[in-house]
């Protein structure tokens, strides 16, 4: 009875990183492209059934739902070498195939339109698992389908499965380059509201930072989408190693998140990974001791979110260290980090760098002895939201590009949804800001309590 996790890949971006993720997973579990276990992997003690189930013919099939409103990416997957990996029943392409046109409202209403089919797929998949742990949603927040339909699905999931964990891997748009999607800020804002309200944890994957990492760290002058996506896949795979290679702790999503998310709304997580490798691009890191890995994970330049962790505080950190490591090394590293104050922490509660040791996949050769993933809850993530809000204001003040939205039922009568989402985001930002102060826990309470805490 594993704690199964169903992956929902929504939209173009969601499916692109999804396929990279599955590529990584089957490699790690020794499953070939058709879903058949390689001979060398027969004796593995890994838990494949968290992310896969076995079909009648012994094929391992990912517990994945591929959802898109346009057929391009999914068609590509279906014609690729992984064509037989996925269950064809789990693939949803909207019938008109028109896509969401980068319009959140369109995506949302399409989600609503196809809700029966979508929910039926999700239900079927959920029924197929003994003890469903939760859902992972992969999507971007800027486009149309991933953000719009994704938002809709999130809302429905929360209603339908009120006791299951919903975690998303949300790709935030690159803010350094001008996007072809001008309404990005609108879409992001509207999606963020759902992420704040309907998701239990959001792993923020900031394209800005991913690009920067590819350029600076891996020395790829112009990183391609698939290169950044494979970075994402690496992070995703690493963040699920403790689920797939069970150790003594953090064997399910809940226990990972319980240590990371102290208050329900502060659930936007940053990631960092070291040492990075994509194909032949190996980062210059040569020496990988635990201390090195843990120290590097705390450096802003390795964090896959474009905010500076020098400002603000860490609310919580979970380092998943893979490789042959013993406890004393970890102790030394932790001590060093504390002595040198490499990370500043919140003052309103006890927190620390949690370290989860995880096995490495025996089937993948790596040049590094130790590698590490950091999942962190850091207050500075609000600056990312700040930027989105600023961009939103720019557009909204001019009432630009609203026509497309007004076409959909949701915005026909009023644009209240924008305002509500803005409020929600503002409150989220102020909550994160409040979390930097010592009195955070009384944030949102009346004044008395706050004074009391000071006392």
């Amino acid at each position: 009875m594993p704690r199964e996790i169903i992956t929902l890949q929504v939209g173009q971006c969601g499916n692109q990183i999804g396929i990279e993720f599955w590529k990584q997973l089957i490699k790690e579990h020794g499953i070939n492209n058709e879903g058949i276990l390689e001979e060398f992997a027969l004796q593995g003690d890994d838990r494949k059934d968290v992310f896969f189930y076995q079909a009648d013919d012994e094929h391992y099939i990912p517990r994945a739902l591929l959802i898109d409103m346009e057929p391009r990416v999914i068609n590509y997957i279906q014609t690729s070498q992984f064509s037989t990996l996925f269950n064809p029943e789990n693939i949803f392409i909207s019938k008109d195939g028109g896509g969401a046109g980068n319009n959140w409202a369109c995506g949302y209403s399409q989600g609503e339109r196809y809700q029966e089919e979508l929910m039926e797929m999700i239900d079927r998949e959920a029924d197929g698992s003994d003890s469903l742990e939760g859902f992972l949603m992969l999507h971007s927040i800027a486009g149309g389908t991933g953000s719009g339909s994704g938002s809709y699905i999130l809302e429905r999931l929360n209603d339908r499965f009120p006791k299951k964990i919903i975690q998303t891997y949300s790709v935030f748009p690159n803010q350094n380059e001008t996007s072809d999607v001008v309404v990005q800020p609108y879409n992001s804002l509207l999606t963020l509201r759902r992420l704040a309200q309907n998701a239990d944890a959001v792993v923020v994957l900031d394209n800005t930072a991913l690009n920067r990492i590819a350029v600076d760290r891996l020395k790829i002058p112009i990183p391609t989408v698939s290169q950044t996506n494979s970075l994402v896949a690496m992070v995703m795979a690493a963040s699920t190693t403790t689920l797939r290679y069970p150790g003594y702790m953090n064997n399910d999503l809940v226990s990972i998140l319980a240590g990371l998310v102290p208050t329900p709304r502060c659930h936007f997580l940053m990631t960092g990974y070291t040492p990075l490798t994509i194909d032949r691009h190996i980062s210059s890191v040569r020496k990988t001791t635990v201390l090195d890995v843990m120290r590097r994970l705390l450096q802003t330049k390795n964090i896959m979110v474009s905010t500076s962790t020098k400002n603000g505080n860490y609310i919580s950190i979970l380092n998943i260290i893979q490789g042959d490591v013993d406890a004393t090394q970890i102790h030394k590293s932790l001590q060093r980090i504390r002595e040198r104050k490499l990370a500043s922490f919140i003052e309103w509660g006890p927190t620390s760098i949690q370290v989860a040791l995880s096995k490495k996949s025996p089937y993948i050769e790596t040049s590094h002895k130790v590698s590490g993933l950091m999942l962190a809850n850091h207050t500075s993530i609000h600056s990312l939201f700040d930027r989105i809000l600023k961009q939103y204001h720019k557009l909204r003040n001019r009432n630009a590009f609203l026509d497309q939205y007004k076409k959909e039922a949701m915005f026909k009568d009023s644009l209240d949804e924008f305002d509500e989402s803005r409020e929600c985001l503002e409150s989220l930002i102020s909550e994160y800001k409040a979390a930097e102060s010592k009195n955070y826990l009384d944030w949102g309470n009346d004044d008395n309590m706050r004074i009391e805490e000071q006392q």
Partner: protein, 1029 residues
């Protein structure tokens, strides 16, 4: 007459015994002889036995011997008459006599005997007198004759004497050479007239005979010990030389060759030397017989003798040693190669313990069935070798019997005697030992899959398999929450099995893993007694013996409880995270939720850090070390030892060791608080849901219209009720937080004292949150410490009085503090001393207050919305003036607590009761206040005036929960002594709307809660006070 007899006997004795005999000894002889005579002449009835006994008691051995001889002779001789007695005495006296009595002496004796005779034969002196004389005469004659004859036969033929010597050499008495039992020697008869030099020579030669006699008698004794038998044989073999020599001598004597005593002596010389040493050997051996270590001793002594400087003697003993070591080597070989003990006479240094007490499952078979007795290890084998021999045989035996591995044989050459004390022997033993142990270890690791079992133990007992433990805890959660006696093994076994099947457990685990329930004690629930069990068979049972398994049970049960805490907290997290929609809905709900989140976060942080410490540092690290050791393990003992060390280390590190009881208790408290938190959380969400439901229905009603106006009152009541419920939950959470923090700080304090716990400390307090907290705590406890530490005890009443009168408007907090520190300290100190006396008074007052409040409550419940209430009774005490600012503050806190206590729910009772122990010191403060109040009645007027002022400012209606508490404080303060003023305003009456029955609880918790809430509320005192003034 008596005297004469005695004297004569004494003389007789004196004459009869050698001159050098001491006086006392003579007296002893005399008394004995006298008594013997008495006995025999029937003068006095003396029992033979008594004399016998007395003789035995005599510690002089020679004397003893002589007397015994006397006695036996007397007994044999059956003497009836005096003459005979005298004769006997003379005879007896000759035993130890060197020179022959001369006539005069005999005459003297005779005279003496006459005297004796006269004294003795009183009754029949007439009749027998003549015969006696006759007899006496003949006796004397015969004696003299005898003497003469002796001197006649002195001319002994040398040859005859030589023949006699031949006998003597074979240990047989001859004609002239007699065995003298008294001196235990062979010697030439004294009456043989021979030159002194020859006599001496003959006596010297005859010593050989004595030696031979001794040795051959040793050889003839049947011995069960094989080594002794071997020695006997060896000696017999050596004696054949001696026989040959005797035969030669005989031949020479008989063939009338020219032979002299000197020659005989010369021939015998070497045999004599040998025999002396052998005899020495035997006497050493015989003197040690009772120790049971004869066999070992033989070899030891032989070894010692074989190093004799004389090469001939050394050779002799080497020969003896080799022969007598044969059985030892046989034992060793049989033991090393077959694991059998041949030793029937208990002479081998390895012993079998056949006691039935060795129970198999204790793992003692290996340890105790055979043991090595180091007393029996001969010097030729070093202790190290002996141990290795022991270990080898034991291992072989173990292999044959327990591991069912009969076909394996050591492939080394058998040990031989020649190897003794050579390097070769120890090399061979080492090799044998190494080979067998390797075989055993290989067998354990191969056939018995030791590593697999260790892994299973780690996976299941030490929760190394997080997957399984997670599943198991989910499956068993409900079942284990039952009372201990309601938990059944078969139910749990079924559940565990199904869990095993669901997780990817292999067949071995499925077969062997089962459930064990520890003995349930009162109040135990399933969690306390649940344990996994794992079945082992020999030989693995020896490693996983009863003792080690007990430790595993202990560790498992402990980890399992922690796992339960973790699981419970994670469930709480789920509940919170999935109910995030409730956040920021209503302010007091929000407060409660935030508080609960805060508590939960610190708990989760603690349990996660602690659990990761347990798994990583306390278990994984020693385990890894152990696994490394296992790869180099050489023998079973070593394995068992490292395994035990592993368990000891784990137990020490997880705080299960006895010396860590304190930490253990703190941990258990922390766990308990976590469970309580979960309960509170349930209440909280129940409450939140109720609130939400009500809000929805309110909205619904509003939409319907104001038709149902009668409902308003009831909804108001509900409002109030829920308002209080929210308050109550917040209180409970605050309590929990305080308790939790206290325990955490306590734990951290303990950990700080231990160097090796540094890393746990690092994990628990990584961002130094608790460190800061503890500093803050110190600050908030300031008052008591301040008083205790800085104020000298000085009783100065006038000063204090003056102080009181000087203080205006004492409600002002801030300005007063410096005053207090300067002027009123001595006064406070004095009050402090008086505190104890006030305890009883205070408690009585509290009871009164409680009663009155109960009454008030009931009346108020009916008129909850009414205006100000008039007190129903006058306070028993006048209003005191709270001149003391800090105390005032405290009392106000307490008052607010009284109000809040009313809100305590049933569920909180337990919590409160548990807390009550911690609060005793708080009583002090209350009493301080009490005293102060009594002494300052004159300021009462002032206070009342203030109160008048305060009243109008108090809000009349609905007040939010938090402000409610603080605003009532000024008026509530006097209520500490009397319950009435609490009801003076509207807000008070609202608070008191609650079931009076619950109020019983509040008293005992007053102080307690005060302590909890000091920090929470004290700030508001001055703010509200400021408002009032």
């Amino acid at each position: 007459m008596e005297f004469n007899v005695q004297k004569s006997v004494f003389e007789l004795v004196k004459l009869s015994f050698p001159q050098y005999t001491e006086e006392t000894t003579l007296i002893n002889y005399k008394t004995y002889l006298y008594r013997i005579l008495n006995l025999k002449t029937k003068y006095q009835e003396v029992d033979d036995n008594i004399i016998d006994k007395e003789i035995n008691e005599n510690d002089n051995k020679v004397l003893q011997k002589r007397l015994r001889e006397c006695l036996t002779k007397v007994l044999k001789s059956n003497i009836q008459k005096n003459q005979e007695i005298i004769h006997f005495i003379i005879r007896v006296s000759q035993l130890g006599k060197q020179e022959i009595l001369n006539n005069s002496q005999v005459q003297l004796l005779f005279e003496d005997s006459n005297k004796i005779k006269s004294s003795m034969d009183i009754e029949n002196q007439q009749t027998t007198n003549q015969t006696i004389t006759k007899l006496d005469n003949s006796l004397i004659k015969s004696i003299i004759l005898d003497k003469q004859q002796n001197s006649i036969t002195q001319e002994v033929n040398d040859r005859d004497l030589m023949k006699d010597i031949l006998f003597c050499l074979q240990g047989i008495e001859g004609q002239y050479i007699k065995y003298d039992a008294s001196s235990d020697t062979f010697c030439l008869r004294k009456d043989v007239n021979i030159s002194i030099s020859v006599r001496q020579l003959v006596n010297l030669i005859s010593e050989c005979g004595w030696l031979y006699k001794n040795i051959s008698s040793f050889c003839q004794v049947q011995q069960p010990n094989l080594i002794v038998q071997a020695l006997q044989n060896a000696i017999k073999l050596e004696l054949s030389e001696y026989y040959k020599l005797i035969a030669n001598l005989e031949g020479m004597i008989l063939s009338s060759q020219l032979i002299t005593f000197k020659r005989i002596h010369f021939h015998l010389q070497s045999s004599y030397d040998y025999m002396i040493l052998i005899n020495q050997l035997l006497s050493i051996i015989q003197s040690n017989t009772p120790l049971g270590t004869t066999s070992c001793l033989i070899i030891n002594v032989l070894d010692q003798f074989s190093k004799h400087g004389c090469s001939h003697i050394a050779e002799l003993f080497v020969r003896l040693q080799q022969v007598s070591s044969q059985p030892l080597m046989k034992y060793i070989n049989e033991w090393i190669f077959e694991g059998n003990l041949l030793d029937i006479a208990n002479e081998f240094f390895i012993e079998k313990d056949d006691q039935k007490a060795i129970t198999k499952d204790q793992g003692e078979l290996w340890r105790k069935q055979y043991r090595i007795n180091y007393d029996k290890v001969p010097v030729v084998i070093s202790y190290d070798e002996a141990y290795k021999i022991y270990d080898t045989g034991r291992t072989i035996n173990w292999l044959r019997k327990q591991c069912d591995n009969r076909n394996w044989h050591l492939k080394i050459q058998p040990l031989t005697i020649n190897m003794l004390q050579t390097k070769e022997l120890s090399q061979l033993i080492n090799q044998a030992n190494k080979n067998t142990n390797t075989q055993l270890i290989n067998l354990l690791f191969g056939k018995f899959k030791l590593i697999d079992h260790f892994n299973i133990i780690k996976q299941y007992f030490l929760l190394g398999n997080g997957n399984f433990s997670q599943l198991l805890i989910e499956t068993l959660y409900k079942e284990l929450s039952k009372k201990g006696h309601l938990v059944y093994k078969h139910t749990l076994t079924g559940l565990v099995e199904s869990t095993l099947r669901m997780s990817n457990a292999n067949q071995i685990v499925l077969q062997r893993l089962s459930v064990k329930l520890l003995e349930a004690q009162k109040n135990d629930i399933g969690w306390d007694i649940f344990c996994l069990d794992y079945e082992f068979e020999e030989p693995l049972k020896t490693i996983f013996n009863h003792k080690t398994m007990l430790n595993y049970y202990k560790i498992f049960n402990y980890l399992w409880r922690i796992k339960r805490v973790e699981y419970t907290l994670i469930q709480s997290w789920m509940q919170q995270i999935k109910n995030k929609c409730y956040l920021n809905v209503k302010s007091n709900v929000n407060k409660a939720l935030h508080l609960s989140l805060q508590i939960m976060n610190s708990m989760i942080h603690f349990i996660k850090s602690f659990f990761s410490y347990l798994m990583l540092d306390a278990i994984e690290t020693p385990w890894k070390k152990f696994m490394d050791q296992i790869n180099q393990i050489e023998n079973l003992d070593h394995l068992i030892q490292s395994h035990e060390n592993l368990l000891d280390e784990i137990i020490d590190k997880v705080f299960l060791h006895q010396k860590q009881e304190q930490i253990q208790i703190i941990l258990l408290k922390l766990f308990e608080i976590s469970f309580r938190y979960k309960q509170n959380l349930e209440h909280l969400f129940l409450y939140v849901r109720e609130l939400m439901a009500k809000e929805r229905s309110d909205k619904f009603e509003q939409s319907i219209g104001p038709k149902v106006s009668y409902k308003n009152i009831s909804t108001d009541n509900i409002n109030i009720d829920q308002e209080f419920k929210g308050q109550e939950i917040i209180k409970l959470l605050l309590q929990l937080r305080q308790m939790y923090r206290e325990q955490m700080l306590e734990l951290i304090k303990h950990l700080q004292n231990e160097e090796k716990m540094k890393f746990l400390l690092l994990k628990l307090d990584f961002n130094e949150y608790y460190n800061q907290l503890s500093q803050e705590n110190l600050f908030s406890q300031g008052f008591e410490r301040f008083l205790q530490q800085y104020i000298p005890i000085q009783i100065n009443e006038t000063g204090s009085q003056k102080l009181i009168s000087e203080q205006p408007q004492s409600q002002q907090l801030q300005p007063l503090i410096p005053q207090l520190s300067q002027n009123s300290m001595t006064f406070i100190q004095q009050d402090y001393i008086q505190i104890n006396e006030g305890i009883k008074l205070l408690e009585e007052q509290k009871k009164q207050k409680k009663l009155k409040q109960k009454q008030q409550l009931q009346s108020l419940q009916n008129e909850a919305t009414s205006e100000l209430q008039n007190p129903k009774s006058k306070p028993p005490m006048p209003f005191p003036q709270p001149y003391q600012p800090i105390i005032t503050m405290r009392s106000i806190n307490q008052q607010s607590l009284i109000a809040s206590n009313i809100l305590q729910s049933q569920s909180s009772k337990n919590v409160q009761q548990q807390l009550s122990q911690q609060i005793l010191q708080q009583i002090y403060l209350n009493q301080t206040m009490q005293q102060l109040q009594q002494q300052q009645m004159q300021q009462q007027q002032q206070y009342e005036y203030l109160q008048q002022q305060a009243k109008p400012q108090l809000p009349q209606k609905q007040i939010t929960s938090t402000s409610q508490i603080h605003q009532i404080q000024p008026s509530a303060q006097p209520n500490f002594n009397n319950s009435i003023p609490i009801f003076q305003n509207q807000s008070q009456s609202q608070i008191s709307v609650l079931q009076p029955s619950r109020y019983d609880m509040s008293l005992s918790q007053d102080e307690n809660l005060q302590s909890l809430l000091d920090k929470e509320f004290c700030f508001h005192d001055d703010s509200s006070d400021g408002d009032l003034i």
